[in-house]
Symmetry: C2
Subunit: 285 residues, 2 copies
Amino acid sequence: MDKAAAAKAPLSSADIIAAAAPGEWQRVDAQDLMLVDLSDGSRVAIALAPAFAPVHVANIRALVRAHWFDAGTIYRVQDNYVVQWGQGDDDKAPPQGLGKALPAEYERPAAGLPITPLPYRDTFAPRVGYSGAFPAAADGAGKDARSWMAHCYGIVGVARGLTPDTGSGGELYAVMGQSPRQLDRNIALVGRVLDGFEHMTALPRGTGALGFYEKPEQRTVVKRVQIAADLPAEARPAYEWLRPDSASFAKWLHLRANRQDTFYARPAGAIDLCNAMPPVRRVKS
Amino acid sequence: MDKAAAAKAPLSSADIIAAAAPGEWQRVDAQDLMLVDLSDGSRVAIALAPAFAPVHVANIRALVRAHWFDAGTIYRVQDNYVVQWGQGDDDKAPPQGLGKALPAEYERPAAGLPITPLPYRDTFAPRVGYSGAFPAAADGAGKDARSWMAHCYGIVGVARGLTPDTGSGGELYAVMGQSPRQLDRNIALVGRVLDGFEHMTALPRGTGALGFYEKPEQRTVVKRVQIAADLPAEARPAYEWLRPDSASFAKWLHLRANRQDTFYARPAGAIDLCNAMPPVRRVKS
């Protein structure tokens, strides 16, 4: 492309993100940054979401600090659905006090949860948008309205048995396929994978029912899980998300929904909640 | 579960599919069944969709029969987006007459295309549903209405350069992540993966821009691609889909959208187009 053409070329998503002001980014709190280290040396970074499931998130932090997840495994990989990790062994009990039944934090009052609305129709909820780095939905706008996180690609949930069991947070899964939004409000969602998800999503699919591995040796070992705040400052990774209430995010979102450029002949005029989650970047700690 | 409880338990998706009558299933035409054999011995089966892109599908069949795809590679795997295969080499020209520019079959008249409607809101189109084994959308119901296939998980499209290039069908991709429906009507969609997709989706992600592999040795070799009709009858695999206009499909779809059972405490009341594509089964040929 010559310079004149480049000057006229519409801004790309990458251009908008690169031009965002420092104040439009927000740092993930080190207390909310969970680092999952796999045995091959790769790392998956997850932002926890205390605004959506405070009791579960607190229990997960406590489980991490009690080394519950260390030397665990990824024991389930179901194509177009989820990857799941933890101890995966019903006979192994979580540490004292951390395995108890938790409240069913499947939703919360919409009041007090800032949501930047996504101005497009959603199949499942009358209101959807973004709260912090997370996709969110609500059943209305009144004072009794309820809100919840949406099951999008990379969103992390608490595996559980049948109702009314709620899970302890000791077994976790992340969505890796078409968003199973029908699960919304039936499970506690606790976070979002920010980085390294490809180390989970590219694992061989389990051939047992529901994608469980049939042989123990097929499992990938989870060497250790840590909360970033517990690492020495110089060893702490850090991430920021583009605030959904920022001008750059609004511009980026509009472009995601209305691409018309050298590739896109026909702009869609809309974008799906799960296809426009706030951009994330790794930064110096 | 004791027998009394089992008798009262609601039908599961699997129960509904198992109880479907033979006439509710429809066989994939052997001329439309494309078999992609990878070098590790695994096979990916794809149903071609001549109703949506007849010229592209005819050209793909001709390319297969000219052995264009044989000894090709999977050269791009982008997490939460697409896996792409073909020759992946701009210097290699398709066989005589098969590399020409094709008409932009990004959409077609809605008239003449039977669509069983999905009775839930869609973010992108006023009408969505299923036509044969494929997810479909339309911009209206009048005589001038246009229709197109939707970019869902496992849907196969024709890779192309910038507009107005349309691609020849010699490089193909399949969606493997959250449905990028914003691409609808910008690309010719030609089929759906029916079986073996996990042999593509679990491949390591490419680390180059857009998920292209950076080193040739990272590519997975595509040993050969065949049209099932060209195999001896006894070697032909066969697949059927549950007809979207059947009573069993309607029942299955309703359950997908309204699960309320031992796991689901709160039925969603809706299901996404890409999460309820007609079930497929392998059958004896």
